[in-house]
Amino acid sequence: MLAVLCGLAASVHAQDAAAAADGSAAPAALPRTLPPESHWRLGLAAGYGRRTNPLIQSDDIPVLVDVDIAYFGKRWFFDNGDLGVEIANNDRFTTNIVARVNSDRAFFSKTNTKYVTFTQLSGGVTVPIRDPGTGTPLAEPEPLKPPRRDYAIELGFETLFDGDWGAASVRAFHDISNTHDGYEIGVTYDYRITRGRFSFSPSFGLAYKDRRMTDYYWGVHKEESSLTLQPYVADGGLSFEVGLKTNYYMTKNFRVAMALNYERLSDSVGRSPLVEQPYVFGYFAGLAWSF
């Protein structure tokens, strides 16, 4: 796939050279009149990708197919699971109220159990250690399994800005399902560069998740602690992410798509006994259809 993308990139470069020679896709004096857009946005991407899972005893998340289903009405919209209503829209920004499902829960879906045997060397002999609570020898292996976490429904707002400088968003969400009772605020920025048939969008984002939300997902609560999992209180903290999306448009409806994303988890999450690696890395490359 990379070889195909490299080949396409080379052909784009060649095409760009030609485009530059005749000034292709240059802003023209014609008025910007866009054709009316369909309320629906439907798409499908198929390819190969993976998203690492920072949780202990869990599998990475394979990304083979991505379905895009969105509907944009005059005010209401549905965007791949997010349900929103536009409350302000002008030349400078658009503000929406949005209900969504928390994304941290996705990591807790592909977990498995490891069994750990605790022994100690005593007088040259290996013997089971004793349970610190009861004092009885621990002859049986102890299970190590990430605790169960629930999905949370969050309600909040987002404000979207755009201009020649790129696009940015500010968002704030609070749990309304009594799952973690916490909140998240965040900002994102991205800038799309389009040359010939090739578009390239680097992005950057910062998010702050408060203590209640962070501890619900990434803390080890008292009733969950064991010999294999020490209690841990996760504090609120700041995480950041960088990403890159590229598209090579073959036709109006068909393109080659590639995406890379790196998210650095907050320090407190990174130190949790539930976390194996303090980051999430994702990638995908494939073919995408827009219907």
Partner: protein, 137 residues
């Protein structure tokens, strides 16, 4: 033995299908090839300045004209010929087709569509940054 029998049946079926198909796929009498076929617009760009390489080939020598769906007059005509070509530079801001026909004729002997794709939108909600890495669309 069973495998051999199955292979024989498959071979006979394949031969039967081959016999049902014409010996040659029917070639169009006129072929029109145009490159490039797509104009991608983003942000303030309202049109692409494109250099079209247009080539055609026919099995029958005749007079042909190159037309497009944006105007009534032919772009260029050729006298009795079996093939022809031209390079045309033009500003493109909407979908259209090049088509080849006889002079003053309306029958499209061959047609190629040129598409314009806008990758941005006036509706900012359509540019929402999705939150998962698998959202690549």
């Amino acid at each position: 033995m069973v495998v051999l029998k199955l292979r024989s049946i498959a071979l006979a079926a394949a031969l039967g299908l081959a016999c049902m198909l014409p010996a040659h796929a029917v070639e169009p009498s006129v072929r029109l090839v145009v490159k490039p076929l797509l104009c991608v617009l983003d942000k303030a760009a309202t049109s692409c300045m494109m250099s079209f390489d247009i080539r055609w080939k026919s099995v029958a020598e005749s007079e042909y004209c190159l037309n497009d769906t944006l105007g009534p007059a032919p772009r260029i005509c050729w006298g009795a010929a079996l093939a022809g070509g031209t390079v045309e530079q033009r500003q493109v801001s909407e979908d259209f087709s090049y088509w080849l026909g006889a002079p003053a004729g309306t029958e499209r002997l061959a047609e190629v569509k040129i598409s314009v794709l806008r990758v941005d939108s006036d509706d900012r909600r359509r540019e929402r940054r999705t939150r998962h890495v698998w959202d690549v669309l």
